[in-house]
């Protein structure tokens, strides 16, 4: 395999035109698109937009009534009782929560619709809503008892989702922020006698959903970050195409036959294509991303964990590009040159488009976005964007496993279809 790897690497390396395309062209495109279309990617509303169901099991009036009765039975002065009752009316947690969710800035992202419990479950299963928020029965009473009277354990809001997603994380983040503010205001400003440490309203720990952890927050993706990732990925895809296209000449000029006549196993030839594509893709990705970081500071102030995550993604992606090079090489030997070139070109074009390598994914229809996540470039781009935004290890691992399995399947197909002696 080593002679094949060295040969393919050298042949590519000595092609000045290809080197310029692989290394300089991405930098030019990132610069041009980054400056020409600033803010195109920064608009988060589209990417984070979600439909959320609201299941309201709480009877606010009944809760207030019960609390009023409870207040009356306490050994307090009438003035105090009146004051607390007014506060309860003003501090209704459900109303506060709904007010926040109705704010314009939140409405851009969260489209809330009140649903019956069964309907919410059905819509969630039908993927009509991303998640639903349940305000459980007795919520108002429990929350206000804790807030006003420092009595009881407080109340919980429940988020239900089918699977983990960035959008669910974002919604949880919004709710978490609202509840924290509410608790803080009550505890510190209005109720000095209430234990400031004890939260009256909390968001139920939803870490069980898809194995997610509660998020620290979501970082915004900049145009430069998006284009650096998208363009470097699609150019890595181009490297696999270019390495495979060299096989056209090897087939036409009978170099491959000469190789077979040496007694070398044909798969050594194929593994050379894979190995050289892996190395060249990795070099290209590292060069473009580091250069983008150097020029535009795309990963400024990132942690070591972030860099390790990016490195893992680039290695798995390069492995995938190697597998694609082997498949494209097999196509060259299995099909007429023109047909093989057309199939390869169309594959790259489709994968590049729906995988968000040419235009930001959020401008595509949702079904295309979903389809795009089945392309290696799309899957990698989404994984890197998520990693950039929330650094979620579970999500990254799942994506990389998918990409690894995809690569192994591609290698199996390429190996199985590659011509042996006497079959070309």
């Amino acid at each position: 395999m080593i002679p094949f790897f060295k040969k393919d690497f050298l042949v590519y390396w000595r092609d000045r035109k290809e080197i310029i395309i692989a290394l300089l062209m991405p930098m030019v495109l990132i610069t041009v698109l980054g400056f020409a279309l600033p803010g195109w990617v920064e608009n988060p509303a589209k990417t984070l937009e979600m439909k959320v169901g609201l299941v309201k099991l709480d009877d606010e009036e009944a809760g207030l009534e019960t609390l009023r009765d409870h207040l009356a039975s306490l050994s307090m002065s009438d003035e105090m009782i009146t004051a607390r009752a007014e506060q309860m009316e003003q501090q209704s947690p459900v109303r506060q929560l709904l007010n926040v969710l109705q704010e314009d800035s939140v409405k851009e992202i969260v489209h809330l619709e009140e649903l019956e419990p069964n309907e919410a479950v059905r819509q969630l299963k039908d993927k009509k809503i991303e998640a639903f928020l349940t305000i459980p029965a007795g919520f108002t009473e429990a929350a206000l008892s804790k807030m006003i009277l420092n009595d009881g354990e407080g109340a919980e809001l429940i988020i239900t989702a089918e699977k983990a997603s960035m959008r669910v994380d974002v919604m949880a983040g919004i709710l978490d922020g609202v509840l924290r503010t509410m608790n803080y205001q009550i505890a510190v400003s209005h109720m000095p006698d209430v234990d400031a440490e004890a939260a009256a309203v909390i968001l139920e720990d939803y870490s069980g959903i898809g194995g997610r952890e509660i998020l620290p927050g979501v970082e915004m993706v900049t145009s430069f970050q998006y284009y650096a990732l998208a363009i470097s990925i699609v150019f890595a895809l181009m490297i696999s195409v270019t390495i495979a296209s060299k096989a056209t000449g090897e087939k036409r000029e009978r170099v491959f036959e000469r190789i077979l006549l040496t007694g070398s196993h044909p798969l050594n030839y194929l593994s050379g294509k894979m190995g050289s594509t892996f190395c060249l893709s990795l070099l290209q990705l590292v060069f473009v991303l580091l250069a983008s970081h150097g020029f535009f500071g795309i990963f400024h102030g990132r942690s070591l964990q972030f860099w390790i995550g990016v490195t893992v993604v680039l290695i798995v992606l390069s492995f995938c590009m190697g597998s694609l090079a082997s498949l494209f090489t097999t196509l060259v030997f299995r099909l007429e040159d023109s047909v093989a070139n057309a199939v390869t070109f169309i594959t790259v074009l489709i994968a590049g488009t729906i995988g968000g390598s040419f235009v930001p994914v959020y401008v595509l229809p949702e079904w295309l976005q979903i389809a795009g996540e089945w392309t290696p470039n799309g899957l990698t781009l989404v994984a890197l964007l998520e990693w950039l935004q929330i650094e979620n290890m579970n999500s990254l691992t799942a994506s990389m496993l998918k990409l690894g399995v995809f690569s192994l399947v591609i290698i199996a197909i390429a190996t199985w279809s590659f011509p042996r002696r006497g079959r070309i």
Partner: protein
Amino acid sequence: MHCLFPCILAIANGLSPIWEVEHMLEAVELRKVFKGKTAVDNVSLYLDEGESVGLLGPNGAGKSTTISMISSLLTPNSGDVRLNGASIVSKPQLIRQVLGVVPQEIALYEALSAYENLKFFGRIYRLKGKELEVKIQEVLEMVGLKDRQKELIKSYSGGMKRRINIAAALLHDPKIVIMDEPTVGIDPQSRSHILETVRQLNREKGTTVLYTSHYMEEVEQLCSRVYIMDHGRIIASGTTDELRRILSSEDTLLLQLDKQSHELANELRNLSPVRQVEETENGLKLIVAKQNQFLSAVVQAAERHQVQLINIHVQTPSLEDVFLHLTGRTLRD
């Protein structure tokens, strides 16, 4: 008993018994059909050890397909290829270590230097270290490009590329070399060098050569036996002399004389093998039936008429003429 043991051993190893082994390499009734079109039809040929054999035929005659089957790159639809009696169709690995193929195309990497190309092919022939280095320098010396080994192939002339193309097939010291049109489209210097390399291989190293070419004179110079192919079939085979005899039963004799002599011309007309006598500027041109003893009769007649014979040139048909005669077209049609 002395003979029995190797025979049993041969059978046990899947080889033909020793009494059936006649040739080093033998193609038996090869047939290859591509998409319903027969490219090679019932082709049989053989090569003995140390022989240099020509395979002639126009484009599309089936030479390259035949070569591909012989070298185990293509599986025949029927027929067999045997190396020392053992079939290589089912065991292609038998031939790969002893065979070097020089394809018609320049099967090299243009972006690599001659040295890098040879190193790559040497490595995949499983040569390494000093042995590989020695072989690379040896084949470069043989093709006369040792001084330019570090230059990229794309900077070479067509002839130089063809010489490296040959060198790459010789790295592993093959016992049999198949050359498919190795001199197409090159300068006379490179052509001469290639022909000399083939001669050297065949005569000095005893390598068996199967040589295909459009250039009839190359085959005549290099090969002791020739196969002529057309439309996927072998239409004639034999030594070059045997093939020439196919064409005609006559020879053309050009006699250069010190003076013109009508008497000599008349006497020669009366000799039985002579079909035609024509007086030329400096002698006579005779069309005669092929006969071994005829030249002595001509010399005696010249002495009788006191005419001195300065030169006698026997014009025999070329292989080109033979090919034209057999197929009705020239090799380059």
